[in-house]
């Protein structure tokens, strides 16, 4: 790895540490969900009912760290922020490992 590439890795780690900005800003400016990413409860408030098939399939997957949060919506800010940073760190590690794995597999195949 070149020294520039090492520097980039450090920048990625810094981004993970700064990532809670991504939960602070929406909170400060009273912004809600992204358009089209509402929970079924919010959908019921917005349109008055939950579409039938949406109700059946919305929760088919239970993510281990749902919403990048180890607590829940009512957890303290510290818990949410630390979960967010940890999620970012997990993201970096998994992305690097998986892409490295894919590269190695592709290299082998082309030999």
């Amino acid at each position: 790895m070149s020294s520039f590439q090492k520097k980039l890795l450090v920048i990625l780690a810094i981004l993970a540490v700064l990532s809670p900005i991504g939960i602070i800003l929406p909170e400060q400016f009273k912004a809600g969900d992204a358009w089209g990413e509402w929970s079924t409860d919010t959908i019921r408030e917005l349109v008055g009912f939950i579409p039938e098939k949406m109700k059946e399939t919305a929760d088919l997957w239970k993510a281990p760290i749902a919403d990048y949060n180890l607590g829940d919506e009512k957890s303290s800010f510290a818990v949410q922020a630390l979960s967010y940073i940890l999620s970012g760190a997990i993201g970096i590690v998994l992305c690097v490992l998986i892409l490295f794995g894919i590269s190695k597999l592709l290299e082998k195949k082309s030999e």
Binding site: Q5, A31, G32, P51, G91, L99
Partner: protein
Amino acid sequence: MHIPDGYLSPQTYVPLYAAFAGFMAVALKKVRRTLSARNIPYLGMAAAFSFLIMMFNVPIPGGTTGHAVGASIVALVLGPWTAVVAVSVALIIQAFLFGDGGITAIGANCFNMAVVMPFVSIAVFKIVRWKASGGWRVYLAAFLSGYIGLLAAAIVTAVEFGIQPLIASADGKPLYAPYGMEIALPAMAIEHLVLFGVIEGLVTLLVLMYFMKNDRDSVYALREVK
């Protein structure tokens, strides 16, 4: 822009899974051919960058939130096919581990953000930059590549939402995403035109300038046409 489970009907998400699989298969072949010891570390970092930048939610005061995707700068630095692979990996991790984007919608989300976006971004960059190898034309091209790239992804996403009431309703009631095109399209287009696209443009521009200063030779979009 991460479509959750329950918003898309199977007649939408199945074809999008197929389209994404096709692009991914070609992308893996192309990446195999261009892989070098020098750019292998960049692949993982590109996916990680995309993963992280999507965590920076930006608010429209009193309204919705959105974020940059990073697919434009990945396409400019590593090429659109490599971007397909890198951004998809980030999106698939987000879906399975963090519930950001549905499992049934992985094909759709990857198609929108990891296929449409990189190819639109690289096309815009090439057209705007024309033959310039530096200066304002390259900078403008970088900004617009991010701005229009994200906007294109948002519009494709909005169309997928917007067709649901048309193709999947029972007794006049929507079964999946409830808002038709007349609501979905302006909502998604305007928020990305006004704010999120600008952020993607700036991210694209800043990271490209950083690469031009430190490792210009490895920048795909500046190397290809001489």
